[in-house]
Symmetry: C2
Amino acid sequence: MPDLAALTALGLRWDAYGQAGLTGPLLRLADDLDHAFQQLAAQWQAVEERPPATLPASALTGHLRAFPHQATFAIGLEPTDTNLGEFADGPVVGPAGSVVLTRTGPVTTVLTPAACFHVYAQRRGTQLTEAAYVTTRTTCFRREQHYEPLRRQWNFSMREIVCLGTSDETTSFLAEARAQTDDFARRIGLPLAWAPATDPFFRPHRQPGFLLQRVQPVKHEAMYGSLALASANRHHDHFGSTFDINRAGVPVSTACVAFGLERWLYAVVDRHGTDPGAWPEIALPAEVVTA
Amino acid sequence: MPDLAALTALGLRWDAYGQAGLTGPLLRLADDLDHAFQQLAAQWQAVEERPPATLPASALTGHLRAFPHQATFAIGLEPTDTNLGEFADGPVVGPAGSVVLTRTGPVTTVLTPAACFHVYAQRRGTQLTEAAYVTTRTTCFRREQHYEPLRRQWNFSMREIVCLGTSDETTSFLAEARAQTDDFARRIGLPLAWAPATDPFFRPHRQPGFLLQRVQPVKHEAMYGSLALASANRHHDHFGSTFDINRAGVPVSTACVAFGLERWLYAVVDRHGTDPGAWPEIALPAEVVTA
C-alpha cells in the first residue's frame, strides 16, 4: 500500500482540499491509462465528446435531491460596483482561510458530478435512429467526509463509455464492456472482481432510486480489493425519459461504464510497486484494438 | 467570421452559461493545437504539470481584491443532516433555474483563474538552484459581462509555459517564446501582432498593479485582429516574493506565455474556413522541434 511520500516521489501533488495534481511518472501513467480506455471505447466506434465544466442545476434537480451532500456549486459575487467594492475593501479572506463573501449572485450551475450527464443533457429533445456510443472524460466533483490520495477525492478524472439504445443493446454493451475491462485489467496484472453496488444516497431508505438499486442489480463495481476502479451502470429509460431522448417513439435506454482514473493509478502502484520501470505496458496491442 | 451554426457543425457545443463543449473536427483541432504548444514548451525541456481544479483562496487574496468581478468560487451545502434535509425537502431549483440553497459551508477555494498560479503555489517556500521551466494546461474561470463562443467564455482552456529564474533568464525566455509563437502562427497562416496590454482590473485607477502595467510594459498580447490569442507576461519578482520562492537568497523572477486554446480554434476557422480539409497542418515539423 503506497504511502503519500512514495506517491509524491512518483509525481502526486496532493492538495489540502482533497484534489490531486500530477506530474512525472504518474502523469504519464494517467495519460496511458486514459488512452487505453479510449482504445476500449473504439471497439464501439464511440464518438469522443469533451464537455464543459458544469451542468445546469435545472437539469439535475432529481440528482441534487438524492445527493445533496456531494454537490459542489459554482458561485460568484453579485456584480454591482457597490457589492464588489465592499468585497474588495473588506478582508477578502478571513483568518481560517475562508472567503469573506459579500452578496453572491444566483447559483445556476453544478460542477459536474458524473461525466455521462453531459451526454444526456447534450441530446435533450432529440430522436435517435440507431444505437449511439459516446466516450467522454471530465473532472467530476463529489464532496466526501474525508479524502485519501488517489482513492477518494473531492474531484477526480472520470472516463466513461456510454450506450444509448434499446434495452437489448444496453445489455449487450454492458456485458461486452465488463468483459473488455476484465481483459484489460488481466493484461496489466490487476485482479478485479465485479460486485453489485448502490450509490451513496442521502437518506437512502427514503430514496426510490436506492430501493430500486437494492431490488434490481443496476450498478456493478469492479473491485480491486476494497477499491472500486470502474462501475457498470444500467439506467433503463431513466435518462431517456428525463432528457426526452427517444427512438421509434419511446425513451431510449442508457448504460455506461465509468473508470476512475486516479484509482487505477493507485492500483498500478499498489500492485506493481514504486519503480515505474516495473509497471506493465498499458497500451493495448494492435490485434486487440482491431479485434 | 464564423457564426454559431457553422461552429456547431464543426463540433462546438455552446452552453447557455458561456462554456464550450467540443467534439468532431474542433476537438481534434484543439488537441493538435495543444500538442503544438507542448512542442514549443519542449524547446525549454519544460516539465509538464497537471494541476488540480481549484486554488486555495488564501493564496489568492491579492488577486481576488484586484479581480473580484471575475472570480468563481466552489461552494457546498453545510453537511449536517438537518440542513441537507431542508434542502432536499425544498424546491431544490426555483422557477428561474437558480438553486434554492439552504445553509452553505465555508468557501475556501477558487476555481482556477490562471493556469500558472498553480506553478507558484506548488513551489511555495522552495529554493531553486537553476532556472525552472514548466508547462501546464487547465480550465480557467473568469466571469464576464457577456460571452461569445470561443472568443470570450466563462471558462476556457489555457496552456502556459512558465519560467522561474533570474531577471535575465525571464527576459530571454519571453523574447524567445514570442518569436516561437510568431513562427508557429506564421506556419499555420495566422497573422499576429504583439501589443502592450493591461489586465481588466476592478477599479483600475485605484490598483497599484494597473498603474504598474501602464508605466511598464509587463504584459503583451498577440493579437489576431481584435482577439488576443496569447499573452506574454513579465511578473518581475511578484510571485517569487508572494510565494516565497527563492534562488541564491533572493525571490525568483517569473514570466509566462499563455495560449487561450478556444481562441486559436476561432482564429483557424475564421482564417481558413469551415472545411477542415482546408485547415493547415498544425503539428510542428521534426526539424523545428529539435532545433
